[in-house]
Symmetry: C2
Subunit: 278 residues, 2 copies
């Protein structure tokens, strides 16, 4: 896979890098950022970070403080953009919660979108291939925030063996039942509810897509989206019923922002490093 490094900045004795490449899956140019704590030949593992609505490959790598936490380890982080770019599909740029910056990490089936908005395959096939071929990575974990937390859970519950561990901040755990999710599913998947259940973490658990490792979630209690969009309790309920090990940390006073993520990121990185290095 040919990837082009567009920028690098030495950080905590490693490198924060930006790349772009022609994606076979999306048919567009795609961008991602990385933090590579050691030279490529010394890197063994990767954590994929999926960002939320309106974000790009830049938000997490500039705001989270992840470099300090991975400095000196054998584990890189890779942060793909949140959608294909450079297209002019119907309604693609009209709202913050659909189209560009809002892929929901699924494979679209609706007209126009089905040719490009295949972010599920982009992450689970193409990005994995890049990690294995271009970075020589062996084990991979996945995490994300909000829409990206949804993406991380859905990918990890469908591709059980592809990912060593999964965690999420403020994830949309039951998109079939919230307005963000319903709008996205209708726009990308039409009316086919069989398709919906592939991309809904709560339904996946209900349908017994279980993991043997513990799922870690942090959720702020002052998060303005908790009640109407995130629906964390629905996920807790089905995990309890199905016997899926789950740790949900509700955090008093914390909201939906990167300030929340930065506060508890160390716990998540530790969770992933422990499993990746087993």
């Amino acid at each position: 896979m040919i990837i082009e490094q567009t920028k690098k900045n030495k950080t905590f004795n490693g490198e924060t890098c930006y790349y772009k490449h022609k994606s076979v899956v999306t048919g567009t140019s795609m961008a991602f950022s990385t933090f590579e704590p050691r030279p490529k030949e010394e890197i063994e593992n990767a954590i994929i970070w999926l960002s939320g609505l309106t974000c790009t490959e830049e938000n997490f790598i500039t705001k989270s403080g992840v470099q300090k936490l991975l400095a000196g380890t054998n584990t890189m982080v890779i942060c793909p953009d949140t959608s294909p770019r450079g297209l002019e599909l119907d309604k693609e740029h009209e709202s913050y919660d659909f189209g560009s910056g809002a892929s929901f990490y699924l494979n679209a089936t609706t007209s126009g979108y089905k040719d490009h908005y295949k972010m599920y395959d982009y992450v689970s096939i193409e990005l994995i291939e890049i990690l294995k071929k271009n970075f020589n990575v062996k084990k991979i974990s996945i995490m994300g925030h909000s829409m990206g937390g949804h993406g991380a859970l859905v990918l990890a519950l469908n591709e059980i063996n592809l990912f060593s561990s999964v965690s999420a901040f403020s994830p949309i755990v039951n998109p079939s039942e919230c307005s963000w999710g319903r709008k996205a599913f209708k726009g990308y998947l039409g009316e086919d509810s069989d398709e919906y259940s592939k991309y809904d973490a709560t339904l996946l658990i209900k349908n017994k897509n279980l993991r043997s490792d513990k799922i870690l979630i942090d959720q702020g209690l002052a998060d303005e989206f908790l009640e109407k969009e995130l629906l964390t309790d629905n996920f807790i309920q089905v995990c309890n019923d199905a016997g899926q090990e789950l740790e949900v940390n509700y955090r008093e006073g914390y909201d939906h922002s990167y300030f929340f993520i930065s506060t508890f990121l160390e716990d998540h990185i530790t969770h992933h490093l422990n499993i990746l290095n087993q």
Copy 2:
């Protein structure tokens, strides 16, 4: 002083906040951000952070990771915007290195600018008053990056007793001798070279404005501006000649970015906390 909190986000058990207020000094609305690690009544000290060209009150507080380093301490950080806003002065918005976002933290004397671009007084009088009256802060240190590193050094070398300690990342140490500085000085101060010497850290040391505490500077050796704009060695030379204690850490491979700042910020915060808590 009436200040209005426009936003707050719980972070590392403290609060990241944004404020605005009517400035008597600049005659405009001014904005600043803070991280307040504990409730106001438990805060004793503050570190002022001055940002560089093109920045606002947002860059440092979102990108540096300072919250993790100040969490639980008695010391807040306050980050003012880099210039007055909302004006339409001659040439104010034409270039990235003059006018809005590029105040150089001096008191302008040229037509138009002299009524508003008084950032030296804004920081050394009005911001100090806000810290003392609104936050009940006792001791104050100052630091900054690039143009803000210049501001921190100039303020600390002129107002010896106002600041407990000073440090800088990639500061413009000798603005009279570089093109960024010359352009700014000409635009804000005209041709009066007596004025220039008040705002040039290298000339201030030469003129025996010395501090009893050690000045700490970190400078990346891959910084594209080092040779032509920052001129670090000039400052080292005059500090040596004048007997000013100075620690300059040249950092191999690091550039001018916030990734560099985040890497070595802990050393600077430790430097300030040690002196503030003496």
